[in-house]
């Protein structure tokens, strides 16, 4: 896999496509993100932003993650002006008394893989080719940074008006809780700068080369779709495994605690004929098991990606419907998630275990 050096208005769609895959069915709509990025390039008379390879991060560098949080549904109506991300970033820098911090994605699924590029176009800083999740997760404490005891705060949340809050918290779960409440009071979307850290810590805790990885997946999938060998191209670029093909025969979805929670049941087709798969989701796909055998064949933190039978484009959880025919893939996650302390943050219990809170 070659690393991506520049993102332009022409290739941002490939990054968005790969990010949709790593979103594991969630992560928000990258369509809005790509359009804001293109608008920003035009407004700033830029034709690209630069991506800094992970290896070139110096121990003495300082990094801050740039992202958006809140309801994706509100995000398609109350679209930001584009400056909010950079605004939060600058406020956090001045709070820390630092300058020229590098920009890092916090996650690499959905819209938040595009956000750092928008921040970069405003601040003329490089975006680092790495992140803290290697995919998308719904909450701020679900990062490898947290697993390495790096505090998410001080963090800044702002809105499109210029309101902003600086949060200091005792741990990252509290950071999530407080930031979530502020985001709701700002009208459902918050623009955040968080997880400030030294290059030394970053090199230890971040998942390297994930922007390149997302871009590579998007590029391979697009080329594969055109060449009509999408599946091979996809499996090669993700090192993933196909675990099922089938038709959705049942869909249950409820909205609770600000999440879309539910499951689908799929009846197998082709070589999976005669078998039945159940996939659970909470915004993102979390768990896939073969019924009858009660055999779990994929579960978070692995990425579960559903793809349209014909177009091979990723199917997000909000696009699920009866009779949709999909291929299901399991994509391995960075080994940073496999150490017990990290795994606990994002395993099945982290989602279903605390469902009463």
């Amino acid at each position: 896999m070659s690393s991506v050096k520049k993102i332009t208005k022409n290739n941002v769609e490939l990054l968005a496509l790969g990010s949709a895959v790593l979103g594991s069915g969630g992560g928000g709509n990258p369509y809005v993100g790509s359009l804001i990025f293109k608008t920003t390039l035009l407004a700033k008379h830029l034709d690209h932003v630069e991506i800094l390879p992970f290896d070139e991060v110096d121990e003495r560098d300082y990094l801050i993650c740039s992202a958006g949080m809140g309801s994706p549904v509100i995000g398609v109506e109350k679209i930001p002006n584009g400056m909010e991300y950079a605004y939060s970033f600058k406020i956090l820098e001045s709070f820390l008394g630092r300058k020229n911090c590098l920009i890092s994605p916090i996650e690499i699924g959905g819209i938040n893989s595009i956000v750092p590029l928008i921040t970069s176009a405003y601040l003329k800083r490089n975006v680092v080719d790495a992140d803290g999740e290697g995919r998308a997760f719904p909450e701020l404490q679900m990062t490898t940074f947290n697993a390495f005891d790096i505090p998410g705060t001080p963090m800044v949340v702002s809105d499109e008006r210029g309101n902003n809050s600086t949060i200091l918290s005792t741990d990252n779960r509290w950071a999530e809780k407080i930031a979530r409440a502020i985001t709701v009071s700002y009208g459902g979307r918050g623009y955040i700068a968080l997880y400030p850290m030294t290059g030394r810590k970053y090199r230890m805790a971040a998942i390297p080369s994930t922007l390149s990885y997302a871009y590579h997946i998007g590029e391979s999938l697009r080329a594969g779709i055109i060449r009509k060998d999408a599946e091979d191209a996809f499996l090669k670029s993700t090192r993933g495994k196909k675990i099922f093909s089938g038709k959705i025969t049942e869909l249950k979805r409820i909205n609770a605690r600000g999440f879309a929670i539910g499951y689908i049941i799929m009846e197998g087709m082709e070589e999976y004929q005669g078998r039945t798969l159940k996939v659970f989701f909470q915004n993102e796909y979390l768990l896939a098991k073969i019924l009858d055998e009660e055999n779990v064949i994929a579960s978070t933190p692995d990425i579960i990606s559903l793809h349209n039978e014909i177009s091979y484009l990723p199917v997000t959880t909000d696009q699920l419907r009866y009779a949709l025919r999909c291929h299901v893939f399991r994509i391995p996650i960075s080994e940073k998630w496999l150490i017990p302390k990290a795994k606990k943050l994002v395993d099945v219990d982290a989602f279903f275990g605390n469902s009463d809170t």
């Binding site: 809005v32 009208g187 009779a323």
Partner: protein, 519 residues
């Protein structure tokens, strides 16, 4: 006696029917659709009036389902010059209006685009106060630019429309006399999609004006200028000419919904899947409580991402004129209206899907000689092709179902004879009499409709009050569209909870229908 005319513009044929008040089909006609569409409609009107003879004096209404709007967008012809006012700064600037439109279409509209401060949150609170002085400055610039229509779009206007209403008042107060379209009248969630839909609507107004002028002048040439003109809408209802001119996007897919409504009227079934098998495509839609089920996804129209209410349709390129290639594969190409000159059964050289069916069944049909098919291909091969065709239809019907249970399938359109009598997953196949005129019949018998969609937080607005407010708005729309107020009834109230929106947010959609005011 009173007679209604129904006209439906299809891709190959324009059909017309005359129906009396007891819903009897008096006469029908089929002419070829012309590239300009209008000539085909005029031919159909002339033809059906001639067939009615003396009875023509009983005609009091003409219901028309036409593709003029869609064609105009695809060809970029006769569109208005549009002004766009978006209210929402400091939010929204990240994606300015018309950012990702196809360049050619955008240039055709020569838009004047302005943004001002204002707009609302999902709660209905203001993002910031509406900037009146900014609004006045923008209004002045827009008026001076001489645009034909203005689209006004405010963030979360479907929760709180007040800033759009104030902007319209400001424009009018400053002397603007052109058309003003407010986005909360067009659709709901999704700023870019709603804005695009509103702009398309503003652009299409002159197209519908021209249609109304040409049909009206034809009717007065025929000394029938007392006939009321109505247009088929995307939701299976009709609206009078004035309403259709103001809201043309609601009629762009009128002909498709006509077939679903026609299937309902011919069978009196409330719920079923409807397959409209034409010359080039089979359109599969869903009849739900007597009306077409609506699509919930963003739909691209002429390359523009939109979200106004459209029928949920799955189209496949398999129909009467579909060409079967030498290997027996079903191609994407169609003979279209040339079927009856180029199909093998009619003495031509091409094997079409119709030929396959006629050959197997040995039926003579529309002057066809099916034995010619058996001369070039063995029966067994034909059966093999036919089973592939049936598989495609079965698959497509299955895609439109919402659960595993077997459903009723109503088959309409000129190619409806081609479907088998039994299909997997289908409990019953109904092929109504006059199925080939289902679309025109659907138009002729349609009621006048009004719809409204609003989003509420049930924590803030009690459910009963929310529904009542939406019903009132739908009734107002129906009256504006030409419904007799005393006949209006609520056909559907739909509540969809909005995922991720805090505070028990629910989108309430209401559809009402009434009889056409014909005096």
């Amino acid at each position: 006696m009173k007679i209604r005319l129904g006209i439906d513009v299809g891709s190959t044929h324009t059909d017309a029917v005359a129906i009396d008040e007891k819903e009897n089909l008096i006469t029908a006609t089929k002419v070829q659709t012309t590239p300009d569409v209008t000539t085909g409609i005029e031919n159909a009107v002339n033809d059906i009036i001639a067939k009615l003879g003396e009875q023509k004096s009983y005609v009091n209404a003409l219901m028309l389902g036409t593709t003029h709007g869609l064609n105009a967008l695809l060809q970029g012809k006769n569109l208005a010059r549009v002004g766009v006012i978006r209210i929402g700064l400091p939010a929204g600037e990240g994606i300015p209006p018309m950012m990702d439109w196809p360049l050619r279409l955008k240039k055709t509209l020569r838009p004047v685009i302005r943004m001002v401060r204002g707009g609302h949150e999902y709660t209905g609170d203001e993002i910031v106060e509406l900037d009146y002085s900014g609004l006045k400055r923008v209004a002045k610039e827009i008026i001076e630019s001489g645009v034909d229509s203005v689209a006004i779009v405010s963030i979360f206007s479907f929760v709180n429309p007040s800033h759009e209403l104030e902007a319209a008042e400001t424009l009018e107060g400053m002397g603007y006399r052109g058309n003003i379209i407010l986005s909360h009248k067009i659709s709901t969630l999704g700023l870019i999609e709603r804005e695009n839909s509103t702009i398309l609507n503003a652009a299409l107004i002159p197209v519908m004006e021209r249609v109304v002028v040409s049909i009206s002048s034809l009717l007065s040439k025929l000394r029938l200028d007392y006939i009321k003109l109505f247009f088929a809408q995307n939701d299976g209802t009709v609206a009078n000419a004035a309403f259709a001119i103001k809201y043309p996007v609601f009629t762009v897919l009128g002909p498709i919904s006509n077939s679903i409504r026609g299937a309902h009227l011919l069978t009196h079934r409330e719920n079923a899947i409807v397959a409209d098998v034409g010359g080039t495509t089979t359109n599969i839609g869903v009849l739900s409580k007597g009306f077409p089920r609506e699509s919930s996804e963003a739909v691209y129209l002429a390359g523009v991402r939109t979200n106004f209410r459209m029928p949920d349709i799955y189209s496949i390129p398999l129909a009467g004129g579909t060409i079967i290639d030498e290997n027996g594969s079903i191609s994407n190409l169609s003979l279209g209206y040339e079927l009856t000159s180029k199909g093998i059964s009619w003495g031509g050289k091409y094997l079409s899907a119709s030929d396959v069916v006629l050959g197997i069944r040995g039926e003579s049909f529309a002057s066809a000689e099916p034995r010619r098919v058996l001369d070039i291909m063995p029966r067994q091969k034909l059966e093999e092709i036919y089973s592939n065709m049936v598989r495609m239809w079965t698959d497509s019907v299955d895609r439109m179902k919402t659960s595993k249970e077997d459903v009723t399938l109503i088959v309409v359109g000129g190619g409806s004879f081609m479907l088998p009598d039994k299909m997997n997953g289908i409990s019953e196949i109904i092929r109504p009499k006059d199925a080939q005129f289902a679309n025109a019949i659907g138009a002729a018998l349609a009621k006048v409709g009004g719809s409204a969609e609003k989003t509420f937080s049930y924590d803030l607005t009690p459910r009963q009050k929310a529904i009542q407010e939406t019903v009132e708005e739908a009734k107002k729309a129906a009256i504006e569209a030409g419904a007799d107020p005393s006949t209006i009834e609520v056909r559907d109230v739909d509540e969809v909870s909005m995922p991720y929106l805090p505070g028990a947010s629910v989108r309430v959609s209401v559809k009402v229908v009434g009889k056409a005011t014909l005096i």
